[in-house]
């Protein structure tokens, strides 16, 4: 499983260009920063108010004025910049974040995304998620293809939406999919999953790209 998550993070990292401004969700998406291609240096945006987010702070060396949006003590790069919340979301909503990588509970082939609330469960609030997916230039969903076998990629999200028509691409351990006007297009698969495997794990019609690329399985 760890390997599959690394596979997803590695592939997502390929989407970045040198100088990009990015916002990475917690968990798997955070791993993307570890796999950036040679020569690709990105700057991470932290919703709570800065650019230049770096790793977690070393125990005992925390700067109590520097947290990430989860409240954890973190560090920042020297070319970072700190600002208020209205400015943080000016950067997001204004399209100054080149890409965001996030997980999802559900995503559908219209690019609708549900990742903030499950009726009947505790209501945590959306935080910055709704602004982020509406504002970022490119929204990449990086997640395991199914939730214990249950479809997460659907014809229509069943959970309350985070946003409409915002997802650009989905990267899973099985393949890479793009949301298009015609529907969801599978452009890459990993060699250990067949097209049939992927179709079976997907809850919406899947268009197979003519030039479907088969990625080798790394040892």
């Amino acid at each position: 499983m760890a390997d599959l998550k690394a596979r997803i993070a590695k592939r997502a990292a390929q989407e970045f260009h040198d100088g990009d401004v990015a916002n990475l969700g917690i968990g798997l998406p955070t791993m993307v920063a570890d796999y950036l291609p040679e020569g690709v240096d990105i700057i991470l945006h932290s919703e709570n108010g800065f650019t230049g987010l770096a790793g977690a702070a070393e125990k005992g060396k925390e700067d109590v004025d520097v947290i990430n949006s989860g409240g954890g003590y973190v560090t920042h790069v020297p070319h970072g910049n700190f600002f208020g919340s209205e400015e943080s979301f000016s950067i997001i909503r204004g399209g100054h974040v080149d890409a965001t990588v996030l997980g999802a509970m559900e995503v559908d082939d219209k690019g609708n995304l549900a990742n903030w609330i499950v009726p009947g469960k505790m209501v945590a609030g959306m935080g910055g998620a709704m602004d982020l997916v509406v504002g970022a230039k490119k929204v990449i969903i990086a997640m395991l293809h199914t939730q214990k076998g249950a479809h997460k990629i659907l014809e229509k999200c069943t959970l309350p939406l985070t946003a409409m028509n915002v997802v650009d691409m989905i990267i899973t351990e099985m393949g890479v999919m793009h949301v298009t006007d015609k529907g969801l297009v599978l452009t890459e698969r990993w060699a250990d999953y067949s097209v049939e495997d992927i179709k079976a794990a997907t809850g919406c019609p899947l268009i197979i790209a003519d030039d479907l690329k088969v990625n080798p399985v790394e040892e």
């Binding site: 989860g70 409240g71 209501v123 945590a124 602004d131 946003a163």
Partner: protein, 244 residues
């Protein structure tokens, strides 16, 4: 020059039952703890609190409640308007039993609604929340009950794109925190303590600033201070860095 320096008790003396107060900070970082402590001591009821989150409960900090959590634990809050309340289970529990109203606002919209209230705009036209329950206001199940977490909102189409009309937010009091300020109230919040502090200082009838450090006017270059003192009514010294 007008003297804005007060003790924490003096500064919060005018806060009354039923008022709306804004509280700066983000998960306890950049929250004006000495003002919150003074307010808990004073003990008002039925507050509406506007804040990013519900603060951190003692269970999460390992020591004491932090930020808005203190007001919640003290039972002083009827309604919280925030973007993220998952770190303080008090809120979830009391939403469930119906004793606390919670309005959820996307974080960027929250900041911008406060700004609109502070800068005299009629509202915010944002694409955030379109097509979600933030627009429709539909209820959400929290187990046995269905609760309202957002009021239905008008949408406005401008040049072919749909925007939500988010109305301005204002408060009777804003409790803000600075790292450094001068005796006129020009202030700066260092690093990630900025969050909602400056924007809230625009949007309340009375603004109280708790600062780690207060310097004489003219002691620092004017551009040291990111925010104008004209927003600040009272200045309270003695805010301390958060002891981990």
């Amino acid at each position: 020059m007008i003297n804005k320096i007060r003790t924490a008790d003096e500064a919060v003396a005018g806060i009354k039952d039923g008022m709306t107060i804004m509280v700066g900070g983000f998960l306890g970082t950049g929250t004006p703890e000495i003002l919150i402590d003074a307010l808990v001591k004073k003990g008002v009821k039925h507050l509406t609190v506007i804040a990013n989150d519900g603060g951190l409960p003692a269970a999460a900090t390992g020591t004491t409640d932090r930020g808005v959590a203190k007001l919640l634990t003290a039972g002083m809050v009827d309604h919280i308007i925030a973007s993220h309340v998952g770190m303080n289970p008090y809120i979830g529990d009391h939403m469930k039993d119906g004793t606390l109203q919670c309005t959820l606002v996307p974080q960027g919209s929250l900041a911008e609604k406060i700004r609109a209230g502070g800068v005299g705009l009629g509202g915010v036209l944002t694409p955030t929340g379109v097509g979600t329950l933030i627009e429709t206001g539909e209820k959400v199940s929290v187990g046995e009950r269905e609760i309202t977490i957002s009021e239905p909102k008008e949408t406005i189409k401008i040049d072919g794109k749909v925007y939500l009309l988010e109305k301005p937010l204002r408060a009777d009091y804003a409790l803000c925190r600075a790292s450094i300020c001068d005796t006129y109230g020009n202030f700066t919040c260092y690093k990630a303590t900025k969050n909602f502090n400056a924007v809230m200082a625009k949007a309340a009838d009375t603004v109280i600033l708790a600062s780690e450090k207060i310097v004489d006017i003219g002691e620092h270059h004017v551009d040291t201070f990111h925010n104008a003192g004209v927003y600040v009514d009272y200045i309270v010294g003695g805010e301390t860095p958060w002891q981990i």
